[in-house]
Structures are given as structure tokens and as C-alpha cells.
Amino acid sequence: MKIILVGTTAVHHPIVAASLYTRQFEHGQLGRIDGYCDMYLDKSGYPVYVGDDQEGNQIYTLGLGRRIDVGWRAIHGFRDIMGIPENELRFVDVHIPGESYIWLAGKLAAIPLIGYRLNRALSDYIIYRNINLLRDTYSPESNI
């Protein structure tokens, strides 16, 4: 099964949640997560492959932008009209407090020279504040 963790962007809190879930990240620096805060990756709009979980499911992340409700309805509609069963393709929404600031941080990344640092600083701050929430919700033992 393909499990897609969906958030406002693919490369902030969803990629951290996916990395926790696949045991690729447990402690330490968020910067070690492959693709973290990489806005070029997010801009492609394609699902970002993170890894496999212990049951062999492929874990991806996907960013739907600030109006996540619109994208959420569209991806579910897509799955229905394409006749893809839920046990083949599953969407999991990833929410943390302050995620709209993370979306803003992603936009700030476009500022020349300092954009990436602003993106990292703001995202790190919000995600570290919520890391326990992410860890509890998306631990490998959790049934997401």
C-alpha cells in the first residue's frame, strides 16, 4: 500500500512525520532529514517518497498549499474516479499548531540570500515545539 502524509507543504511537518514513522529520524537535527525544507521538491507538486514502513508500505508526503481543504477533496475525488481502493492508496492528514506559519516560511524561502535560512529557522522553531505531538501521532507503533 502507498500511504501519503498530506500537509500544507510536503517538505516540512509531513516529511518529519513520515521520517518518524519510517524510523529514519528519531532524535537530533531536523536538517538531517532528506528533503526537509527543500522548496524545489515541494514546488514540483509530486508526492515525495520518504521510505518504507515496517510492514512494507511505501510512505510519501504531499503538499496541498494553504487551502488544504480544497486539495483534500480533490485527491479523494481522484482516488474515487480512478477506482483506486483505499487499501492501495491511503491519505493521512498531518496537522500541527502553527502550520500556517510553516506555509508562510515556505513562501519566505523565495527571498534571495536569506530565504532558506528564514524558512529553516521558522520551520525548525514550530516543528521542534510540536515534535512530541508528531512523535506520539506518527510513531511506527501508531496505527495511522
Binding site: Y46, P47, L62, R67, R73, A74, G77, I81, M82
Partner: protein, 118 residues
Amino acid sequence: MPELMQIPYFDKTDQNDFGIIRFMGQDENGHEIYILGKRNLGWRLNSVLVGLADLTGKKDDLMVVNCLPYVNWMMMLGGFMSRRLGLTFPGRPILYEGVKTSFMNLVSMVTTIKVKLV
């Protein structure tokens, strides 16, 4: 205008309809045609749908067509007045003029897509 108003969903949707994929019918070759209002997700939602189709091995079964380049300012203004502000008059007549202006471009787009699908 009466012909346009007979089209399903034409100037009849609200805020909660964005993101809902709606079936409109089939073309002469049996392809199913759907519509989707993307609000301000724009290009991203196109890429998301193509990416998901690719991921699930259904890329050849999906063609996403961006209609936004064919939307002129009268359609935007008329649609905004009619649907967002609830002013079907004068919103709807403005929208109608916009559709009339853009109509042949839309016809051309549909023709191009049909040629591509052959």
C-alpha cells in the same frame, strides 16, 4: 444566456464546491470528462493529480487540462459578483459577456485536446 444556464453547475456552485471533481459526461470516444474548481491552488493541483496518477500507474488514464488561461476579467468579475457576493444581477450578465468573448478560444482548446487524444 438561457443555453448557458442549462449547463450543469454553470454559475451554480458555492465555496464548498471547490475541490470537488464532478462528472460532466462522456465524449464521442468514451472518455469521461470531469470538472474541478481549484480555487487558488492553480498549477499545484494539476501536478498533484498527475503525480498521484503516476504513482498509481494510471498516468495514461488521466489528462489534466488547465482552463484558467481562457478565463478573462469579465468572467472573473461576473463570477465573483454572482457567486461570492450573491449579486446574480449584474454578475451573471457580465459573466455571460465574458463567456461569449472567450467562447471560440474554449472551442479551440477542446478541438486541440480531441486531436491530441486521437
